[in-house]
């Protein structure tokens, strides 16, 4: 499937090209189908302009703060050895995998008006905290993205050759000199890409903006799309907004590609480099680690405690059925993501640099697509031919898979390129081709990243509550939808229990797929 060192076999090119075309059709046909539909609203109203402005402001703030806080956190993790350090680094993977609806419950328990800090503030005679609005949206985004950026930086620190730190120790460099001469050059290379990634992820914020935005003041473009579809039922207006959102994403990507390429995801093990430059006083680093870990762990802790109480009270009968549907859906959709990403990555890894970058940029812009517009568009397209209910799970699975594809590509393209660069010639010289080559000379080398990409896609799909609401027949509920329906039936305790099950299953799926790849991982 995946061909030679410098060239791509015809089969790889064909398969990759077909998959790429299918993905592009899936993304753009729905916009086109809605474009010509009913709707007499303004082409681009003043409310839309406000939405664009708010979207840009919150993305900018979220990305800046995530990156700024991640630097001291990652630095402390990479120069201090302490008990539980590996656990902290493993924990960094969790928030990003967290279903948004679950994370919001946890964040409210800590930062809400009757949350932990409000109580402390009240006890001290202060006011209640109010996080609704820009502050809350940015807080939640930092919660999701701070650990992501920290992981990327930990990888950056790991990639610094250990001799650098030895040299610094031998030359007697202090912490400042080590930062200027060793760490800053790495950060300068890694930070812009990490910033871009977070910016793009926050650009399409929907659930967070709806829950914590506090009202129409905090409307992102994706929220505006939702309201347009719901209230005005102006399909062509929704299509226009979807294009505006895509345009914003594309502009940011083009702007940024000049400066930096987004950092690729990796599964850094967080091996601590041996170093001698850490200041003797460990207080500041310890404070940074404690505060950061507290910020990440407290909301999770509340979800777990509340959920355990909810489950203890006795789960509803539909819970396990919904969990089963979700696991099957997430697993299948993750496999589709993995296969599609593999096919496209096979094509990209063999392309000349310029064209490869173009495909990569397109993959990033996909982060700015609107699941609502895609879902509605697919519905409009399919409706005359098939019963959308009968295809609810298939459509949801495919759209979820497409939404995870950018992540899959970011992980697999570098892995395939490295495998090809290091062992492609060897495989060529041995005359390895076709399936045998893929099985023996490619798959073992990319197994780790492949497992990681699949696990990530599974967890993201597991927590998704978007497309399914448009299609789901009453007897088919995914776990997030089931949890939402429980909340709609006054059953908050059971909903908290369902949230815990959702959290556990998301992490378990990620872990299992990671294990499938990791146990046999070979270093490339």
């Amino acid at each position: 499937m995946v061909g030679g060192a410098g060239r791509v076999t015809r089969l790889t090119a064909t398969v990759g090209g077909l998959v790429l075309a299918a993905v592009l059709i899936l993304l753009f046909a729905p916009i086109a189908s809605l474009w010509g539909q009913i709707g007499a609203g303004p082409w681009f109203g003043p409310g839309d302009l406000a939405a664009v402005r708010f979207t840009l402001v919150q993305s900018l703030l979220s990305a800046t703060i995530s990156v700024a806080l991640a630097v001291p956190f990652a630095r402390a993790l990479m120069r201090r050895s302490f008990a539980g350090r590996r656990l902290v680094i493993a924990l960094l993977g969790a928030p990003f995998l967290l279903p948004v609806i679950v994370a919001i419950l946890g964040l409210l328990a800590v930062w809400g008006r009757s949350g932990l800090f409000s109580q402390i503030s009240l006890d001290l005679g202060g006011p209640r905290l109010s996080i609704y609005g820009l502050g809350g949206v940015v807080l939640a985004h930092v919660f999701f993205n701070l650990p992501l950026v920290t992981r990327l930086l930990v990888q950056g620190w790991q990639a610094i050759p250990p001799e650098r730190f030895r040299l610094a120790a031998q030359l007697g460099m202090g912490p400042r000199a080590v930062f200027q001469l060793i760490e800053w050059p790495m950060l300068r290379a890694v930070l812009p890409g990490a910033f871009l990634l977070v910016f793009l992820l926050c650009l399409t914020s929907f659930a967070v903006a709806l829950a914590l935005g506090g009202g129409p003041r905090a409307t992102t473009v994706e929220v505006a799309i939702y309201q347009t579809l719901r209230f005005e039922f102006d399909l062509s207006h929704a299509a226009r907004l979807a294009l505006v959102q895509l345009g914003l994403g594309a502009a940011v990507v083009l702007l940024a590609l000049g400066i930096a390429r987004p950092t690729s995801f990796g599964r850094g093990l967080g091996r601590l480099p041996q170093r001698w430059d850490a200041p003797r006083r460990a207080g500041p680093d310890a404070a940074v680690v404690l505060l950061s870990v507290g910020f990440l762990v407290l909301p999770l802790g509340f979800v777990i405690v509340r959920g355990t109480q909810g489950l203890w009270a006795g789960p509803e009968v539909g819970l396990w059925r919904a969990a089963g549907i979700s696991v099957a859906l997430a697993g299948t959709s993750a496999l589709v993501t993995a296969l599609a990403a593999l096919a496209i990555a096979g094509l990209v890894a063999g392309l000349p640099r310029g064209r490869g970058m173009l495909v990569e940029a397109a993959g990033l812009v996909m982060l700015a697509t609107s699941p609502f517009v895609i879902g509605t568009g697919v519905f409009v397209i399919l409706r005359p031919y098939v019963d959308p209910f009968a295809w609810a799970l298939v459509v949801t699975g495919v759209i979820n898979a497409a939404m995870s594809l950018p992540f899959g590509l970011r992980i697999l393209v570098p892995a395939l390129a490295a495998a090809r660069a290091n062992y492609g010639r060897l495989a060529d010289s041995l005359g390895m081709t076709g399936w045998g080559r893929f099985r023996h000379a490619t798959l073992p080398l990319i197994r780790g990243p492949l497992g990681f990409a699949t696990g990530l896609a599974a967890a993201l799909s597991m927590g998704d509550l978007g497309v399914i609401t448009l299609f789901a027949p009453p007897d088919v509920a995914t776990l997030p939808l089931y949890m939402y329906r429980l909340m709609g039936a006054y059953r908050m305790d059971q909903a908290a229990g369902a949230a815990l099950v959702l959290l556990g299953l998301s992490l378990a799926l990620f872990w299992v797929f990671g294990l499938l790849g990791g146990r046999h991982a070979h270093r490339v």
């Binding site: 050759p161 030895r166 030359l171 007697g172 001469l181 060793i182």
Partner: protein, 232 residues
């Protein structure tokens, strides 16, 4: 300067390094042995990047247990990554004088002088990537000269160079060592290197460190383990 390993033990994955040997002041010692035997670890112990589980390391009669790498009378050149890619050759060398790169007139003069000594006077403002492999090695050596520490440790720093270039580098090392009366320990794979500049050889195998012997004697009547390694 005298270097002594007193009943040193260090457990590592795959082997336990044991050393109870000493190196006389002003000598050149080649450390040879199979891959993974513990040669680099031996140098690391002297430089202070590793610490022994048991035993002591003395340099010039002083116990090194509590001395940080920067404060040891030692310069170690690595196989790779001796130079920062984003700094100029001049800055890389100057780090040997002032790790924060705040240089006064005297510092600059000293840097220029050692650069001239290794024939890199015209390359001061280039980045390492613009230099050839041999030139990179000489830049690293210039910094070692500038630091003027009495012990010089080389961990196969010239392994990537061609035979002629490597001979030149070894000769340069020998000259500099003699000028400053340094004690030299050099890890190498090639008996030729040892014959060229080292008066003595330490053989390391599976963590066991043999005491230094005269180079000529070693190659004429090797110990059984060494004979096997050399294929004699």
């Amino acid at each position: 300067m005298h270097i002594a390993f007193e009943r040193v033990r260090l457990a590592r994955e795959g082997f336990t390094l044991q050393a109870d040997v000493s190196v006389e002041p002003g000598t050149s010692v080649a450390v040879i042995g199979p891959s993974g035997a513990g040669k680099s670890t031996l140098l690391s112990l002297v430089a202070g990047f590793d610490r022994p589980d048991a035993g002591r390391i003395l340099i010039g009669g002083q116990d090194m247990a509590r001395v940080r790498p920067a404060d040891r009378p030692v310069t170690l050149l690595f196989q790779d990554n001796n130079l920062f890619p984003h700094l100029t050759v001049f800055q890389n060398v100057a780090l040997g004088r002032a790790p924060n790169l705040r240089l006064d007139q005297a510092d600059r003069a000293a840097c220029s002088s050692v650069l001239a000594r290794v024939d890199l006077a015209g390359h001061a403002n280039k980045r390492p990537a613009e230099l050839s492999g041999g030139q990179q090695s000489r830049a690293a050596l210039a910094r070692a000269l500038l630091r003027a520490k009495p012990v010089l440790l080389l961990d196969e720093p010239f392994a990537a160079l061609g035979p002629a270039l490597r001979r030149d580098m070894l000769d340069l090392v020998a000259e500099i060592r003699a000028e400053r009366d340094m004690t030299l320990m050099m890890v190498t794979h090639d008996p030729e290197d040892a014959r060229r500049i080292a008066g003595q050889v330490i053989f390391v195998q599976a963590g066991h460190v043999e005491p230094p012997r005269d180079t000529a004697a070693v190659f004429n009547s090797p110990t059984p383990g060494m004979a096997a390694y050399l294929g004699i």
